[in-house]
């Protein structure tokens, strides 16, 4: 009868050994990749997602970034200054940051309204992408080794002016 298999023993046969080998192999591959990505976190702490964050109201953060922008417009930011960078529809506040090469700065990034993306792009091949979340700030420590110009582009859709949202970091010698 068609309903029953020709080989009845096929029903209850445990997994064949080749099946088991495959299952094991694919699990091993997954584990190797998992270990690699974890090990990388320890091996190369310079290229990591920042872990320091805090809550901040969007309107308040926008205020903080605006007064920071007013204070340092056109001038180089001295070592030890805490930098505020706000993403708002549709600009970065401040639009431009002048930093010194070789100095580590503390940079606080958040949004004044909706989700944005922080994408740092340099001629030297630098690409570094983070989400910018309203209500939540990232604290990161940035150091540029060489002078140059870096672009900050928004890379999360944030409304109709999204494509024009570009800022700059100028690194001076």
């Amino acid at each position: 009868m068609a309903i029953f298999p020709r080989k009845l023993e096929e029903w209850y046969k445990p997994l064949a050994s080749v099946d088991k080998t495959w299952i094991a192999a694919s699990v091993v591959i997954a584990l190797v990749m998992a270990t690699t990505t974890l090990a990388w976190s320890f091996a190369d702490p310079s290229h990591q997602v920042p872990t320091e964050t805090f809550e901040v109201a969007p309107a308040e953060f926008r205020e903080m970034a605006s007064s920071f922008a007013d204070k340092y417009r056109g001038s180089t930011i001295p070592e030890g200054t805490e930098i505020y960078l706000a993403a708002v529809q549709w600009a970065w506040i401040p639009k431009e940051l002048r930093l010194k090469a070789g100095v580590t700065y503390k940079v606080v990034i958040s949004s004044g309204d909706v989700l944005h993306g922080f994408s740092l792009i340099g001629d030297d091949g630098t690409v570094y992408n983070l989400m910018v979340m309203p209500g939540m700030a990232y604290v990161m420590y940035i150091k540029f080794d060489k002078p140059g110009v870096y672009e900050i582009r928004c890379n999360e859709f944030c409304g109709l002016g999204h494509q024009g949202m570009v800022g700059r970091i100028i690194v001076e010698g």
Binding site: W11, A16, M33, G117, V127, G135, G159, Q163, G164
Partner: protein, 544 residues
């Protein structure tokens, strides 16, 4: 196994025809996007779009192609196939109700998008807000698909009661997996819509952006498996059938499906690896689970390749010539095989996205666009279409009018997608952002020179893909008008030689669903605990 499936077939004809119409509309948007993204493409003015049109198209492209088509096509395909495999009808009342809800929902959402008042893209991240009909429509569409899922589950349970001790046939096994994953996926979506998005859009209620985003990706990743699983089912079911062999390992196929059920949901945080406010430990936990979901894909790759080898050798192929002995000249086989190859490459790049560090490099760049056109877009535009070719004869009673064009379609896509995706991969590594029209044209600052040729080349690939999509639509509708020949048969063979293997553990759905729920809780309780115990940070909604 003959019966009368008039109600099921009417449902399937409507939803599948509608899917092809959506492919046409969404494909036109895709073409407009890819050429408007390319810097310095001299465009005739009617092809050049404003930012508002661009983001409206992009919303339609994502919602129609990646949400609406899968729902309509998969329910239709299941309504056609499951009754024929199980020899049982689906409940007609539920089918009608589901069709009504899904169409009402789709029309509401489409109106909200096409009127230009909901350009929030298919991820609709709060606090950007769309017209309320957008969320209501989406919710209704999903609830309609739940009604269909209920009809399918009831049919299956009835079959099981009447067939104790029989193994579930692989086609139904795969489709059940598809719908179980769909329920896992959409519960968080419905929660997000009811709790956050509707109140935000209707009353201007404040929302926590991170919380809403977390619910979204709780839905968004298993959505990926909903797209994929019917195609995995077709690989396991149709490839051996067309080659005249059995699946290399029936049991491994089922093991893979079970792994999809348990591991496809608790991984959404891999879309949030660079979000502030989620602990690195929880992110890493889900990266780990993500790599676990790579296993069933690897198992599938082994199993299907081995089946192809067996089939090729049975057709007279040797150690390597089995590759040539595949029925490459059959449009259905070619479509499924092209999907298999392209998905394989796309899947590998997905593993890269999930690397905790590499994500910093590729997040929200065109790399991601390359990735999901090799995966979901290919599944839809080649995989679903391949199955649709064979349904033209069986379901629509027409056959394929131009089998040679139908055959050219997947190969044309293969050429287009390789050009498109690799260009977008490279542009992405150079930092080119996704979701953005030609930055230069819109009056922005000059763009890095590396993006220019890659995005232009991407446009060439995109034009070839669009040509392939146009062929699919043309073959479908012209065949409906004129009729043609049958190219392959999806319905089960009337007298299967052998039954399906029965293994109690592999038939124990309750157990695997329970395991899935436990894993979901393990993966998401810490994240939500972190969010809620810290206190939410609700922000005001903002228009586009």
């Amino acid at each position: 196994m003959t019966g009368s499936y008039g109600v099921e077939d009417r449902f399937a004809r409507i939803t599948i025809t509608f899917s092809v119409l959506l492919l046409l509309l969404g494909g036109i948007f895709g073409l407009a996007q890819v050429i408007n993204r390319a810097p310095y493409f001299e465009l005739p003015s009617f092809l050049e779009v404003s930012p508002k049109t661009y983001y409206t198209f992009l919303t339609g492209h994502g919602v129609f192609l990646a949400v609406a088509i899968p729902i309509f096509w998969i329910t239709g395909f299941t309504a056609y196939l499951a009754p024929r495999v199980l020899g049982k009808n689906l409940r007609g009342g539920l089918l009608r109700l589901s069709l009504l809800m899904m169409f009402a929902g789709a029309i509401m959402a489409a109106a909200a998008i096409l009127s230009g008042r909901s350009a929030v893209l298919y991820t609709f991240y709060a606090p950007l807000k769309a017209h309320p009909l957008f969320y209501l429509g989406a919710a209704l569409l999903v609830l309609g698909s739940w009604v269909f899922a209920a009809a399918f589950f009831l049919q299956y349970l009835e079959w099981r009661r009447e067939n104790r001790g029989r193994g579930t046939p692989i086609a139904v096994y795969g489709l059940l997996t598809t719908f179980i994953v769909w329920i896992e996926a959409t519960v968080p979506l419905v929660i997000d819509v009811l709790k956050n998005l509707l109140p935000m859009s209707l009353f201007g209620a404040k929302v926590d952006a991170l919380e809403a985003r977390t619910w979204f990706w709780f839905f968004g990743h298993p959505l990926v498996y909903f797209w994929l699983l019917p195609i995995v089912t077709l690989w396991y079911y149709m490839i051996p059938k067309m080659l005249g062999v059995r699946i290399f390992s029936e049991k491994m196929a089922r093991v893979a499906f079970i792994m999809f059920i348990i591991a496809s949901t608790p991984v959404g945080l891999h879309h949030q690896l660079v979000d502030p406010g989620v602990s690195a430990v929880y992110k890493y936990l889900q990266v780990l689970l993500t790599l676990v979901v790579a296993s069933p894909s690897l198992l599938t790759a082994f199993n299907i390749l081995a089946t192809m080898e067996m089939g090729g050798k049975a057709r007279g192929g040797g150690a390597l010539s089995w590759i040539l002995k595949q029925p490459w000249g059959n449009p259905v086989y070619a479509g499924l095989a092209v999907t298999f190859i392209v998905f394989g490459i796309g899947g590998l790049t997905g593993i890269i996205n999930a690397g905790y560090q590499l994500n910093l490099l590729v997040h929200n760049t065109t790399w991601i666009v390359g990735h999901f056109h090799m995966t979901v877009a290919t599944i839809v535009a080649v995989g679903y279409i391949a199955a649709t070719y064979s349904l033209l004869a069986e379901l629509f009673g027409k056959g394929v009018k131009w089998p040679r064009l139908a055959l050219a379609q997947p190969y044309l896509w293969l050429v287009g997608i390789l050009i498109f995706s690799f260009s977008y991969y490279i542009a992405g590594m150079e930092g080119a952002p996704r979701r953005m029209l030609n930055i230069e044209g819109a009056g922005g600052p000059p763009i890095p020179s590396e993006w220019i040729y890659t995005l232009q080349l991407g446009a060439v690939g995109g034009i070839v893909m669009s040509a392939s999509g146009a062929l699919a639509v043309l073959v479908f509708f012209y065949s409906l008008l004129r009729g043609g020949i049958a190219v392959a048969r999806i319905a089960p063979n009337p007298h299967p030689e052998e039954g399906d293997p029965y293994h109690p553990l592999l038939e124990n759905w309750r157990l695997w669903i329970a395991v899935a729920i436990v894993l979901i809780l393990v993966a998401y309780i810490p994240t939500f605990y972190e969010l809620y115990s810290r206190g939410l940070a609700p922000v005001s909604p903002v228009g586009v």
